[in-house]
Symmetry: C2
Subunit: 265 residues, 2 copies
């Protein structure tokens, strides 16, 4: 199973939207996809209309009550499956404080289903706490949605430091696959400047021994598109809501950039 | 000192931008303003170019090491002061777990400077954890920046539950002053629908005994404006960067809506 964590501690940059759309695109291409919602605000789960209840366990139960992950998995569409989250997960940070090996609990749980899926995508909350650390410890690759605004690169620096720490202490195989520019408005000077600075930074990291030495800015930039925003409130991805929109085109192309599979017919 | 917490656990909805601009507007009107950055990501501090260092203490020291708040306050401009944050604050959540009265530490610290300022604005992180609870316990009023997209009202429900809990258990005087629509695009059906639903919800709460019974949607909606996004990466508010822009006009009017003072000449 190819394992990718979708991470950025900055709020509202497109993590959930990217996880939902890459997941949906891969599912439409017939891949077996497992999504894990690691955000207590559970927007990925909401997006797909999945509510945690007596009959539906969440990732919280997997992390804190050793529930086997298969019991928390729900089918979204055919080959697209989800481990949902709910607000209880906010307590996990405190509950896991003194648990031995608390950073690798998710990894252990996922190892059990490693053969059952082709791709794993983990949607992370806007923080670099224990939930995001669990995602980093459980994955091989990191994709970073980034909005070219407001100190995007400062936040990126902190995120990369965290990836490096995880690589040094817990997960030597973790690498940063790349940065996905989201809600992109290429007409502004600011975004051009940020993309140039980012490109320069990545190029200068090529010869260093760091987990981002081969990270790229994915060629496809997800343009700001109101159809994307609207689709989520209908519990749909833009592929169902408005398949001819720029939003659908962009996320399809980003899926090709990352996974080499033309996903949506 | 009038005390307002700027809260929304959803990421990227305009909390920091709103705190910075309301603070700057009040400062320009000659009010004595104290801003407190309660986000470990410290974007409000970054916005004003304030870095925590050996010579500059942060709110973390105030919360965990009993540093008197006056020693962490720095002058941004004339009557606009700031207690900055930095990444250490991420550890506060864990460190405060078993501290007696951990929800009211900020309040106690702020009581000392109650006479020194006219207005206090607290910028909160995208979560409902102990940092946000400290802000709620320390304030009289809550202003909720809201982006009319993606389950904005679901998130609002959880936020209001939290305000109510704080009112019942810690701070009986807390009220929700209102909702500030940010990054608003009034041309979409989605935003109109969300605003209508929100209006209906607030109207139906008028006769209930809840902290939001007199909450309003502030008349001024902050329109999406690239000048606002650009100004922050220059370490400026839009009042300095582009004083004639819609961004400056909107935030000036919002300041009038909330504070009844025409702030910017
Ligand atoms: N390309 C786009 N065009 C227009 N709106 C978008 C686009 N991508 C995302 N959005 C909207 O922007 C908002 C934030 O996106 P999203 O929730 O995916 O960010 P996030 O990084 O997961 O946020 P959080 O930090 O809160 O988890 C949502 O309302 C979403 O529908
Ligand atoms: N009216 C606006 N028009 C255009 N861009 C805006 C506007 N308001 C805020 N932004 C930009 O949107 C991004 C998110 O805003 P901001 O950081 O204020 O949100 P936040 O709620 O504080 O986020 P977080 O949850 O990460 O603390 C920033 O890049 C900011 O510059
Ligand atoms: Mg999200
Ligand atoms: Mg903020």
């Amino acid at each position: 199973m190819r394992r990718i964590a979708i991470i950025n501690q900055k709020g509202g940059v497109g993590k959930t939207t990217t996880t939902a759309h890459l997941g949906a695109a891969l599912g439409l291409a017939g891949k077996r996809v497992l999504l894990v919602d690691m955000d207590p605000q559970a927007h990925l789960s909401l997006h797909f209309g999945v509510e945690v209840s007596e009959d539906q366990s969440s990732v919280y139960d997997v992390l804190t009550a050793s529930l086997p992950i298969r019991e928390a998995i729900t089918v979204v569409h055919d080959s697209l499956h989800l481990v949902p989250s709910d607000i209880d997960l906010a307590a996990a940070e405190a509950e896991l404080i003194s648990v031995m090996g608390r950073e690798v609990i998710l990894r252990e749980a996922l190892d059990v289903v490693d053969e059952a899926y082709d791709v794993l995508l983990i949607d992370c909350p806007p923080s670099l706490g224990i939930l995001t650390i669990n995602a980093l410890s459980a994955c091989h690759e990191v994709v970073i949605p980034l909005q070219a605004q407001f100190f995007a690169l400062q936040g990126l620096g902190k995120l990369l430091d965290t990836v490096r720490l995880v690589q040094q202490r817990i997960n030597p195989d973790i690498i940063v696959k790349g940065v996905a520019l989201c809600m992109h408005d290429s007409s502004t000077n600011l975004s051009t400047e940020i993309v140039d600075d980012l490109t320069e930074f990545l190029v200068s990291s090529r010869d260093l021994d760091v987990p981002w030495s081969r990270a790229e800015i994915f060629k496809t930039r997800i343009r700001r598109n109101v159809k994307i925003a609207e689709s989520s409130s209908f519990g749909q991805t833009v592929f169902e809501y408005e398949p001819k929109s720029n939003g659908a085109i962009d996320y399809n192309r980003l899926a090709i950039d990352i996974f080499d599979c033309p996903c949506v017919p």
